[in-house]
Amino acid sequence: MTTDNVEQEIISIISDVSGFDPEEIKPDINLQNELEIDSIKAIEITVAIEKKFKIQVRDEDVPKITTLRQAVELVNALISQKDANA
């Protein structure tokens, strides 16, 4: 999966969970403050990302995801780790 696709997939997940339009979900938007991502939604997004990309997100990484950009970086890193281990 290419980086662009990863971003599109994550935007679609965030849009589904938050109800905001995909076009409003910009790379540096603050998920908690601007898209009303509370603790339940943060977990819903994490679970959906794990399911979609077949990866495991560690608990300590969850607080690092405050923007879309960070989420994409984390998922890309986890995908390459997974590929390296495969």
Partner: protein
Amino acid sequence: MPKEDKEMYDAIIIGAGMSGLVCGCYLAKAGMKVLIAEQHYKPGGYCSSFKRQGFTFDAAAHSFGSYRNGGNLNTVFKELDLDKRIPIKRYDPTDIVITPDYKIAFWIDHNKTIQELQKAFPNETKIRDFITFMANPKPVDIAAMRKKTFRDLLTQYFTNDELIAILSFPLFGNGGLPPSLMSAFTGSKIFTEFVLDGGYYPEGGMQALPDVLAKRFVELGGTLLLSSTVRKIKVRDNKISGVLFGKDNFVQSRYVISNCDARRTFFKLLGRKIISEELLDKLNNMTPTLSMFIIYIGIDKYFNALPNPCSTVWFLPRYDIEEMYLDAKSKNKTDLTKYLLRVSPDGKAILAMSNTSFKNKQYWNANKYNLLDTFIKLIEQSTIPNLSEHIVYREAATPYTLFRYTLNYMGASYGWESTTEQFADPDLRKPSFISNLYLTGHWTTYVQGIAGVVYLGYDTAKLIIRKEQKEKP
């Protein structure tokens, strides 16, 4: 009948539980044409009350939390203009945990609670840190505990197993799991919303909450149908088309929101053919929470041995909640030695309950009244001496009763178990394979109690309203 003459709705909500009612109010307020269909003859689900021989009993839910300024329930009631319509009181202390060695009260003033805990456990140095963290947790800190158990969280602060049990027991009652199995996420939510911000109660009994929401829903233009069972959710080209009442009464709707049992929604209302193998497997392997054996006692007068009205009393006979949980899961016995108990505001009605498994109808028919007597004796021995001398009315509800009134699978108290293993699947809230279908209530994700399901009703409505705005030409 020509198609145009048939009723058509923007949204049909199945179930008038607290979550369905809140969702309905918000959708109706946004201008949508909404129908709520409830199979029972009154709204509320587990949040309801009934009258017998002049006594008013809450059926199951008996107080609520999250009503502080900014709390989810408070926000919803204010936004729906209900906060001034319904007098809500907070009782102090909200909870009291009694064990053979301790009596710890949880006060509205957290400092008082901290002092009480420090006095009882002088060697524990992080009591204040823990209560402070729980009183105002940051969303990310809570989200980051997804794979931890509540016991993992408690052992970061404490070493004394008796203290750990005392802090966990209200969560066993309010969430049906021992600390070593309950996810830290759910555990912290319950602790923050039910224990530290708990103890609220509406004038007239818990039924006042669904009643005022139902009234508001109708004022906002919604249609509430009681004693109306939805038989099928109809889907055309992977999109919601409406619901079926009875055999062939089809009512068209653009959205369906199911506030009823998850297995019922997927297996009965949608049908096994529509859902994926993967979800089918998942649902078949998921564990529901324990049910409850509940007793309702009417007494002749308030007497000295009774605890404060409206403080929830938790009686913990020993400190191994893990073992209590395994006992409660047993299919052939009912351990009532651990329980919660609450006296009504007028001091006349007592509600007591204990976690237990569903078993079957025959078991409860054979044992219900023996267990009712056993339960009263246990309460006399452990918390209220001479209780039986004052009893003028007694009745019990078994897990089968809970199932019969609410259709919750196996009479489950809180939907699926909030273990770290069966964490929320997005398909349980908003199935990806059918558009315009949503589920709300305690079977959909990791929230619990009235505060949790109210949040979900509000959130589900918000998702639908945003979707509508996007799709408007």
